[in-house]
């Protein structure tokens, strides 16, 4: 069902407010009234109004000043300015400041109906536009799922079968394997596709920020909470919420999240009103949640609530046959973005890419190709344009130990696990190298 258009009537005359409000209510709109600009701005800060009908002459702040303030607060609200005394100057000023229209009191009933109908049409068109834009972005991202390997075909088959259901999904896989793209593909192929897909990167936020981000907050809930703000669960109403790096959330947030998933309702931070939202949840992690449950760092009940369907995205080294397709795709993507003629890649470079273990997965490959296009000769990507880990930032590396482990493994692979040559290349003695291999549990077959 289409949602009701909300209208705010701002006029210092009670009879005008009552008349307009009755008229709009009879037309099926949701109406609020304010007797002055100050009250109106308070209401606008706390609630969203599609249409604001404001008198120009009011005691205190006038309608034009209020219009400017509304436009700085809510640029998506349509403001119609009313006046009892038509003047070309004020009309021009109002329209320049962003008013949708300017009308003289009293109105002809038909003019008022037309005005509100036109404003409503504009609002619905803007909403439709936004939905279509999101749809295009979603479809675009689904195209990014490149792969002809058996492993990738299996994943796509799972995406297709799970998309139509409403079940929670956990997407697992190493960093850089494209977990978010899988989430987008599930959303874009589900019945919720015309509604938002809202992404939250849990690992990037502190506990209190994550709480306010997910549940929203009321004005004054904490320092800096100047306005009421919708949370991500509210934004995802009728759509999908994607919680990336779910393993990083604190025990307190795990309890909160479990409650929300069970009741599909929550209270904004600093608020007392229960809000409901109909969302589907998709999570992603590069950690082993099952062992986190066994270790007691992730709640078992939350794990089972989330893990209705598990899709594991294979690392790139397990689907090397997809590398040529991905390389082609990234060459086309970056040549188009950078406005360069399409280039190719020579056989030696392609062969080397096929042998490389890609600890940073597709993200690392994409970075490599982008860099090669930027620094290359503009005709062909050759071996010398590919850094193979030396200059690349590997996104799976989060500590100095990770870096050392990856680097030693690469040099060992480079010298086919010849300890003497590797130790020489690393400028350490053989004992130190043996100790490092033992410390990081490195094995030749890795």
């Amino acid at each position: 069902m289409a949602r009701k258009i909300s209208i705010l009537v701002v006029d210092d005359e009670e009879s005008v407010r009552d008349s307009l409000s009755n008229w709009f209510i009879e037309d099926g709109y949701q109406v609020d009234c304010a007797e002055n600009a100050k009250k109106a701005l308070q209401l606008i800060e706390s609630s969203h109004f599609d249409i604001i009908l404001a008198d120009i002459k009011m005691p205190g702040m006038d309608g034009l000043e209020m219009l400017r303030r509304i436009k700085s607060l809510r640029n998506d609200s349509i403001v119609i300015v009313m006046t009892a005394f038509a003047s070309v100057n004020t009309a021009v000023m109002a329209l320049k400041d962003g008013a949708f229209d300017y009308v003289t009191k009293p109105f002809d009933p038909d003019d008022l109906s037309h005005l509100i109908r036109n404003a409503s049409k504009q609002i619905l068109l803007a909403q439709e536009n936004e939905t279509l834009k999101n749809k295009v972005i979603s479809l675009d991202n689904v195209e990014d799922l490149i792969g002809n390997s058996q492993a990738m075909k299996e994943v796509l088959k799972q995406v297709e079968s799970v998309a139509q259901s409403n079940s929670s999904v956990i997407i697992t896989g190493e960093s850089g394997t494209g977990k978010e793209l899988i989430a987008r593909a599930i959303h874009a192929n589900s019945s919720r596709k015309y509604y938002p897909l809202v992404s939250v990167h849990c690992g990037a936020l502190t506990e209190s920020l994550l709480e306010s981000e997910l549940f929203g907050h009321e004005k004054g809930a904490f320092t800096g909470a100047m306005y009421n703000r919708k949370g991500r669960f509210e934004m995802a109403d009728s759509g999908t919420i994607f919680l990336d790096e779910i393993a990083t959330i604190s025990p307190k947030m795990q309890i909160e999240l479990l409650r929300v998933l069970e009741t599909k309702s929550f209270v904004r931070v600093g608020g007392n009103k229960e809000t409901s939202s109909d969302f589907r949840v998709i999570c992603a992690t590069n950690r082993d949640l099952k062992s986190m449950v066994e270790q007691g760092t992730f709640r078992e009940d939350l794990y089972y609530r989330l893990n209705v369907v598990n899709i594991n995205v294979p690392p790139l080294r397990e689907r090397v046959e997809d590398i040529p397709l991905l390389v082609d795709y990234f060459i086309k993507k970056y040549c188009t973005t950078m406005n360069k003629p399409l280039i190719t890649i020579d056989d030696a470079a392609m062969q080397r890419l096929g042998e490389y273990p890609f600890p940073g997965n597709i993200r690392e490959l994409e970075n490599m190709i982008e860099r090669a296009i930027v620094i290359g000769n503009g005709k062909k990507i050759t071996l010398k344009d590919l850094p193979f880990g030396k200059d690349m930032i590997d996104n799976s590396i989060e500590s100095l130990d990770d870096f050392e482990k990856t680097f030693i493994r690469q040099i060992l692979n480079k010298y086919s696990w010849n300890i003497t040559r590797t130790a020489k290349a690393l400028k350490v003695d053989r004992v130190t190298l043996y100790n490092k291999i033992k410390k990081y549990d490195l094995k030749p077959d890795e």
Binding site: S19, W23, I25, D27, K105, D108
Partner: protein
């Protein structure tokens, strides 16, 4: 105990036959017995000299005060030009989910638009207007169905386009509200 009824109060001259026809149509639509009453108000108190029209908000309030206890809904019928502060004119108005409504003949006659008089058409228009305002008192809002009597009409041509009956949806809402009441 007296059954609840709908009362139509005429202010000013209305033909007996004209009022009976309206009462008949209202009874058919809302299934309540309809009482016709005649009353008098000093309309000069409601006259706005600046606009040369009568204040619809004040008249609605006055009609509301005339309601009898056994009366479920009341509609005041006038033949003067009505306005509310924000609009240049109204055909009528009512309290949504309330007790009373008002309707006026003034802008419904063909003569007002320089066309030959048509008493049958005038009766039809006014009947639709009275049934429409009563619909609001029963909680019905404007309906998008083209021939529903609850469709909003700002010109007489709009009133002519619609039927004098509630559409299926509005009827269902009315029945649901009736049961709740």
């Amino acid at each position: 105990m007296t059954q609840p009824n709908i009362t139509l109060i005429s202010f000013g001259y209305f033909g007996k036959h004209f009022l009976e026809k309206i009462a008949e149509a209202v009874k058919l639509e809302y299934k309540y017995s309809v009482i016709i009453k005649e009353s008098h108000l000093d309309l000069s108190e409601f006259f706005d000299p600046g606009r040369r029209q009568y204040n619809g908000n004040k008249l609605l309030h006055a009609v509301n005060t005339l309601s009898m206890p056994q009366t479920l809904k009341t509609v005041g019928m006038f033949s003067v030009d009505l306005f509310i502060p924000i609009l240049t004119y109204i055909f009528g108005q009512a309290e949504l989910n309330g007790h009373s409504g008002i309707a006026s003949l003034y802008r419904l006659s063909n003569e007002r638009y320089g066309i030959a008089p048509d008493d049958k058409l005038l009766l039809e228009r006014f009947t639709k207007e009275v049934i429409h305002e009563l619909g609001h008192t029963f909680g019905l809002i404007h309906c998008m169905t083209p021939d529903c009597v609850m469709r909003s009409g700002t010109y007489v041509e709009d009133i002519d386009q619609k039927d004098q009956h509630l559409c299926h949806n509005c009827r269902r809402q009315l029945d649901a509200a009736d049961k709740a009441w």
